[in-house]
Symmetry: C2
Subunit: 372 residues, 2 copies
């Protein structure tokens, strides 16, 4: 399936055809620096989540600025990262079924791989896969600290899984996965802080039991862009799994950041789109719909034109109400800020990396579609 590349290095952004996924390199690099500065001096490791970008080029730049490795959600994502040169991947998720576990075990021969578990039967299967591959696999217990997705309850249930891991010959108990995903998009700072305080309580209670049972402490890993300074300040979390800070989507931008201490990350990720129909006075139709910008967390925003409102997306069309905004002639190209960066990235094969109005590079999104 040969595919036309969306751009060539050196060409003007104005000449890039649409829709295309644009990465503003100045804003992106600024976000990397802002995060680094915001945690500098703290005893905390940085392990950004690669589910947001799915791109080894980005992972390696995060590591060049101090990240110890990346997180992934899927074995196939981890395979793409390792293939792209990332030496240390935490699959911050459960991996269920022998087909995937065999791939997981094979991958541990190429890079340092850690995985999560929340079920004793699954732990036993990971052990079998490790034994068959002749490897030892690091396993974290996923604790449900409020996201109510995967994970066992803090305290005794978590201890039981830790013990189940520790008794397996081919596994190493490595600590706790404690990501409070439900807190990240709570709009108020106080709400987010309260949710993380509760998460920290659950982690501390669990750590006390685990150490009391004679198991090693291991590491505590979690946190997202909405709350990471609270986890970093906790002295309980050892590692931050921030993902969206590099792009800053429209949904995250709705959070209140005042007095959170978290820097204002800039929007660096855009969907480049063309006005393709202009038959009604206050409506512009653009060529980016829901196959170009995911609407699961709300519509995209129109960059640079705050009055213009992206009202509706169908498969390949976006309806923009101009609200008196001048311009938007047929053929004009504009930038959209995606509602949610992660699933938007997953629609594209390349980032068109832009600086000063010129294309500087194309970065392949090698883990696009890596759902296994």
């Amino acid at each position: 399936m040969p595919r036309v590349l969306p751009a060539q290095p050196g060409m003007a952004l104005a000449d890039v055809d649409t829709p295309a996924l644009i990465l503003d390199l100045d804003a992106f690099e600024g976000n990397l620096q802002k995060l680094r500065e915001s945690i500098s001096g703290r005893k905390i490791m940085l392990r950004p989540h690669a589910k947001s970008h799915k791109c080894p080029e980005i992972a390696l730049r995060q590591m060049a600025l101090g990240a110890v490795g990346v997180c992934c959600q899927k074995v196939s994502e981890a395979e793409a990262m390792v293939e792209g040169g990332v030496p240390d991947v935490l699959i911050a998720n459960e991996v269920v079924g022998m087909t995937k576990l065999k791939r997981l075990a094979a991958l541990t021969k190429k890079a340092k791989i850690t995985v999560c578990a929340d079920d004793a039967g699954n732990v036993a299967q990971i052990d079998i896969a490790a034994r068959e591959a002749g490897v030892t696999i690091d396993v974290l217990v996923e604790v449900n600290v409020g996201a109510n997705r995967c994970g066992v309850a803090p305290g005794e249930p978590a201890l039981k899984i830790a013990q189940a891991i520790a008794v397996c010959k081919n596994l190493r108990y490595a600590g706790l996965q404690a990501y409070q995903g439900g807190a990240q998009h709570l709009r108020g700072v106080a709400e987010r802080r309260a949710a993380i305080d509760t998460a920290i309580d659950g982690v501390e209670k669990t750590l006390a039991l685990i150490e009391g049972a004679g198991l090693p402490r291991g590491k505590v890993t979690g946190a997202g862009t909405g709350t990471y300074l609270f986890e970093a300040a906790s002295r309980v979390y050892d590692e931050l799994q921030v993902g969206s800070y590099i792009f800053m989507d429209a949904d995250y931008a709705k959070n209140d950041w005042t007095e959170s201490g978290i820097p204002r990350f800039e929007h660096s990720l855009f969907v480049w789109t063309t006005v393709m129909s202009r038959t009604r006075p206050d409506i512009a139709i653009v060529d980016a719909g829901l196959k170009a910008s995911s609407i699961d967390s709300g519509m995209p925003r129109v960059a640079d034109f705050p009055q213009a409102e992206f009202q509706k997306a169908s498969d390949e069309h976006g309806v923009i109400k101009m609200n008196g905004t001048p311009g938007f002639a047929l053929g004009d190209k504009i930038k959209l800020i995606p509602g949610h960066c992660d699933p938007t990235v997953n629609l594209y094969d390349h980032y068109v990396c832009v600086r000063g109005g010129k294309v500087e590079a194309l970065w392949p999104i090698t883990a696009r579609g890596a759902v296994w």
Copy 2:
């Protein structure tokens, strides 16, 4: 970017790893037949929309059962269809900008290509692209018959665009694109019928003006799965652009079909998913989230277990409330019916085609990500 194939022909569905996009061939072929029977004896052409499936293997099967060609939304989609052996493609959409128009003109040397327009300036550009390529391009006027997306108003505005096309040396005025996209998902049959009656009125009014002005009638093309028998019965529409009938997603299934005359198409498209966390009594977490099944038109439904409710999707997780449904043990695989088939298909590189519990074929989704 080498990618693992999601399955191999001959293997049992039970062994196919998840998430995977499953096409039930019996249901799919049944839907093709049902559509054919429902329009047999009518003087109407069938031109299914390939934006739903993005797969030449499917397009060729539709043509083998009488379709005259397919519709596409994008030049890149049309390129993939022509590359896959489809000889006749209508781009049922505007194509704006010389970059795309040059590709459009080049494609007319390989297959019969038609495009839509709703702007005189755009018409002039299509003419330039045709002249430069030394071809004649067929152009339809898109009429806004109620979808309020692209298209000019019926009547005089449509006539003006038709005349703008007709005077261009390298273009041929080919008729009207009159798709009432807003009608397809109106739940009641009477509402859908009323919306199509209004569309038909607009088309008739426009045809009268166009023929009165001495232009050829051309063809009238439009209709979707929700309403196509109303357009077929109109004696005004010549061609049907149905897309979703082959898959029948959860959103379309919410329409009332009673006394519409439209057959009950069966669900043939599924997301195959694994129960990956089971730590709370009435909740099962599956490994298919919004990167595996698009939620733009609502959550997926759990096939075969009507009580179980897919409540929430995050990137790579789905939360299913069991509501007392037994089973769903860790590692169990279940089928989801996507909320909206088109953007779900666009997440995958292959259909895993299944019959009688076995994988019969893999069909590549060659136009996946074809947004240009």
